[in-house]
Symmetry: C2
Subunit: 209 residues, 2 copies
């Protein structure tokens, strides 16, 4: 089993009890992550995060401008892990092989399902701040991992226009699949089809021709 970056759900109290917390910023991000996962992006409150981190409700504002800023920071942390996982899931697989593409797809879906709170937070959790350059950069940086693999799989040296198109197709598909799967609508398919078969089918259709 590949070692992937997990959010550590270790200790409950989440802090030491001292006037200064040590790293409250990180503590609040972790609290936010947990709560968003538990109650969803709606239903999250700064107050809850404070209770979980064991600080007063005014404390966050020394580290974040407002609630949305806190959510953005939490999304960025999640995307960081997501990126690491996307890279890690391919190690050992022969370069230029479709298996690497499939591994990426599997990992994308896994993250979307397993950390669905963060996933939803990223895509539609807040309406303002969508233009935050840190978010855009994080997204593109992950997409580039896919593009490199697609290029390599198509036998291209660089990321050509064709590579971008195919990569975009794959991303759209896997992204949509992630959303739909979570709403249990996989049952619409009859339920007898397995994810790997499905991903393989898609990779073949998009990468050939």
């Amino acid at each position: 089993m590949n070692e992937r970056t997990k959010p550590k759900n270790t200790k409950q109290p989440l802090r030491k009890a001292a006037y200064h917390h040590g790293d409250l910023r990180a503590g609040l991000i972790e609290a936010t992550r947990r709560l968003v996962e538990e109650k969803g992006p709606d239903g999250f409150s700064v107050s809850d995060a404070c209770r979980l981190a064991g600080v007063s409700t005014a404390a966050p504002y020394k580290h974040f401008n407002d609630k949305t800023d806190m959510l953005v920071a939490t999304v960025l942390e999640g995307m960081g892990r997501h990126k690491v996982n996307m890279q890690a899931c391919m190690v050992g697989l022969p370069s230029g092989s479709p298996q690497r593409i499939m591994a990426l797809g599997r990992e994308y879906v896994r993250f979307a399902l397993e950390e669905h709170g963060i996933f939803r937070l990223k895509f539609g959790g807040f309406t303002d701040r969508l233009d935050d350059p840190r978010l855009q950069e994080a997204g593109e940086s992950i997409f580039e991992i896919v593009l490199r693999e697609v290029a390599s799989c198509l036998g291209e040296e660089e990321v050509t226009a064709e590579v971008r198109t195919r990569g975009f197709m794959l991303w759209s598909f896997v992204h949509g699949l992630s959303f739909i799967m979570h709403d249990k609508k996989m049952s619409m398919m009859g339920g007898d089809i397995d994810l790997d078969t499905f991903l393989g089918d898609i990779a073949r259709r998009v990468l050939t021709d």
Copy 2:
């Protein structure tokens, strides 16, 4: 141009001023729709809807259980129009032709972009109530429109397992595309590719073999 169901943005005040509103339930749904479109699902407040509808902040609770119930009702109204549009967008196109599939895809994306508030509300606007049978039924009923066309396009009489798989692929793809396009990430493709070409390419890849 096909007559499609539009949300009517006619008069500003949205009501007459009388103790009894006439149809406050519909009025609140319309107000909610507008506000969700304007400020996003986050950023929507019942109070705002009341102000827009011109009633007191307690009035909604005679028609809806709570805020989420109001949002669900608004989503259902939107999905109703979405369904009508999906059916309307195919009229005149030869039955069993891929053009009908493409029309469906175009219409799906159009709705997702043009009524992006409702779209996002449906997919991740609220964490509880995801199991509301009305939502599930509305979703399936729209998916069945797609399935019928896919069957017809593949020359099948009924909705076979194969038809479900292909339909599911198409839906995943178009759904993901809708999300990604809104975040302007279409620019990732170089920007020179047009939606119709893209949809056609996808339809071909998914429906052949």
